[in-house]
């Protein structure tokens, strides 16, 4: 009777559909890191990201019946989370000026960092810069970069999450990368003139 193994998403979703909140809680715990990260990089603010991620999961709970079993729960969740992010922003959100920077370590343990501790500040600074560049892209470009570069989703999944044809994934990804590179170049240049960015500028128009 008792499930012998760690229940899979499908199993948990089934239970959640029947009203089992604990099962849904397990789904949240299992997926919250990826959803939170995606939202955080999309909106650039930790507190907003927490609110949005929470709202997205609550929304998912309410709409569980509309979840089609033919895609992964994560795919569905990404879509809901991005939609939530966009409407959050549209509603005016709760914009503050404080960007990223791990306000009080709320984000928990950092991803594995094999550098020496002395490099931490440097990492922090480059994180801030890259996020800033990301913030300047248009939302569709940001989404696709997050999904590919940070979440390492396949083109098929990306197409499903963003509801665009697979061919569009290719071209949009290229454009998004190009745009981000350009933003980053400008940012780095203005931050510390004459250093770091010696990379050739691709796609030179």
């Amino acid at each position: 009777m008792s499930p012998p193994e760690v229940p899979g998403d499908r199993d948990l979703i089934e239970r959640a559909r029947r009203g089992d909140r604990d099962a849904f809680g397990m789904l949240v715990v299992r997926h919250q890191d990826r959803i939170y990260t995606a939202v955080l990089r999309f909106c650039g603010d930790e507190e907003d990201a927490r609110d949005i991620a929470q709202r997205a999961f609550v929304n998912a709970w309410r709409r569980l019946d509309s979840f089609k079993g033919d895609s992964a729960f994560s795919t569905w969740m990404y879509r809901i989370a991005f939609n939530e992010s966009v409407s959050f922003r549209r509603e005016g959100g709760r914009r503050r000026v404080v960007p990223l920077q791990g306000r009080d370590g709320e984000a928990g343990p950092e991803p594995a960092d094999d550098r020496r501790p002395g490099d931490r500040l440097e990492v922090e600074e480059s994180r801030r810069q890259v996020q800033e560049a990301l913030n300047q892209l248009d939302p569709e470009e940001r989404k696709i970069l997050i999904l590919k570069e940070l979440e390492d989703r396949s083109y098929d999944e990306i197409a499903e999450i963003l509801e665009i044809p697979k061919g569009t994934v290719r071209s949009r990804l290229f454009r998004a990368r190009d745009a981000l590179r350009e933003k980053l170049r400008v940012l780095l240049k203005s931050a510390e003139p004459g250093s770091v960015e010696s990379r050739p500028r691709a796609g030179g128009k």
Binding site: R50, Q54, V58, S171
Partner: protein, 356 residues
Amino acid sequence: MSCGFDKGLLAAHYDGETTAEERVEVERHLAGCPECARDLASMKDLSAALKPLSRSAAPMSIAEGVLRDIAPVRSVSRSWVGWASSAAAALLLAVGTFYILDREKSAPDRSTLASDQKAGTPRSESLRRQDDAESRSHYSKESPKAPPGDPAPPAAPAPMAEEPLGKGRDDEGRLDDHAERDKAKEAPAAEPKSRMGAKPVAPGVPVVRVKAADVAKARAEVEAFLAERELKLTPGAPLLGRSAYVRDHYVQLDLTAEEAALLDKRIAELKDTSTARTTLELEKKRLAEELSRLKPMNEAQEGAKPADADATKDRAGELEEGERLRGVAGGVERDAKRLARPVRVIYVFEAVPARR
């Protein structure tokens, strides 16, 4: 783009998303096109630049917030997080623990253990079985079918009552029967009845006191740890009893020594959090003292009624929010493949003021 090559195809190549033919095509083109070779190199650089943004751990308050938001509407307004960090938590903790310990005291545990051994059942295993059956019956109680707004606290037993586990009391007897049936199936038939009412306690069970400014966070850390290891979580903390607040303050885990050490370290790394290892015996003493200090307060609050039973009931309603978290933070069901033999560890959460 001057070279006119399909840059989308180049991106697909970089991401390993081309067909075999496309790949040949791209590679042939790359050999003779410096511009595209440069684009490809830039994509690599960009991926490296984006690395610092990769996955962050979500704050556990997300899961808590979600569970709070999807809970059936109740009249209770205070959240688990709210009360857990309040001074009242300390009182509840004390009362809750006393209840458990008191049951232990009255339980014929030694004879129980002996009978386990006679039956050829390793003690820890039989304990776990019992846990199992009991957690299932816990589960039934918090089943979402409970009418929203129902003022009757579903899970608060009269603390001192000696009664068989998995029996009656809650109104969903159906699932309790199921637990009974399972028990009958799994346990030796000749098992003495006394065992059911007793709380067999292994004297060596380590207790880790977690003192935290943010109890919810400390607890969340435990949950995160378990989730990472894909330990399956089941509700209930049978070694410690069944009252709502006991479950809310205690987490009972089966961990290998290595896991326990790792978890301790992680909790201790949280801000304004410390851990101290103690034993059930010491805990018992400490609480007996604390309780005798708190008891007059209790009685004053509860008037002439039998204090303990009523206190339990009153608070159970308040604590239902916390109960919902049990599904995430209750006991643990082991991954059968794990080799090292896990032992039972009890974590107790205690709110302390933040150092600021």
